[in-house]
């Protein structure tokens, strides 16, 4: 169970391998990426790291309780990210696929409503809009 904020890219296959157990019938991986919306060429991600990490632990515990997940990993990056880069990876394991899909969706929705992380569009050297 990795629940962290980091600047470095995320090794998704290591996460999948390390969290897999024979209790899992399904794993669902959600990956958020920097999409080219035509207005920017990078994102700057700011986080209030200690609070965000505590929130990830809370959200993970909620999701395990609510959906009977066998494992949860959430890694969110911060700092400057170029178009196409990975922003966040959420990996859940479960006995059956319904719980895995629902648990994964629950986690990303909670993350987006609660965890103190913000995105700002960058265009060249200019700082642009804060994305909501």
């Amino acid at each position: 169970m990795v629940l962290a904020l980091q600047k470095e890219d995320i090794d998704i296959s290591a996460l999948i391998k390390n969290s897999r157990s024979t209790k899992d019938g399904a794993q669902v991986v959600f990956i958020g990426c920097v999409r080219d919306d035509g207005n920017m060429d990078a994102l700057e991600i700011e986080a209030f790291v200690p609070v965000a990490e505590k929130d990830l632990r809370d959200i993970s515990a909620e999701a395990i309780e609510k959906f009977g997940l066998t494992s949860v990993d959430i890694i969110h990056r911060y700092g400057r990210l170029e178009l196409g880069e990975t922003i966040v990876v959420i990996l859940v394991g479960a006995g059956h696929r319904s719980e895995a899909y629902e648990g994964s969706r629950y986690i990303i929705e909670r993350l987006k409503e609660k965890v103190p992380i913000w995105k700002q569009e960058l265009s060249g050297n200019a700082r642009g809009e804060w994305v909501h």
Binding site: V51, L111, E113, P116, R127, W130
Partner: protein, 92 residues
Amino acid sequence: MPEIIIRSFAKFRELFGGTNSITVPPETTVSGTLLAFAKTRSASMDELFSGAELKTNIILMYNRERIDAEDAKTIIPADGDEIVIYPPVSGG
């Protein structure tokens, strides 16, 4: 007089700076502390308050615990305590 630390993130950090401190009279609430802080900067007044009321889309933490606008009217921070303010989040 207690000195209170005010930390700001994202758009608020750009407007007010990341970390500030403000000295307020004893028995000043979180809300009163933020009002005193807002009065020190023209930008912050409109961003943080509608009249004397804290705007509802501002997220508040007092010593790293989330509080709401009602709590802000009753909690009295002590010297060295921390208030955190930030706009709605957008991670993921």
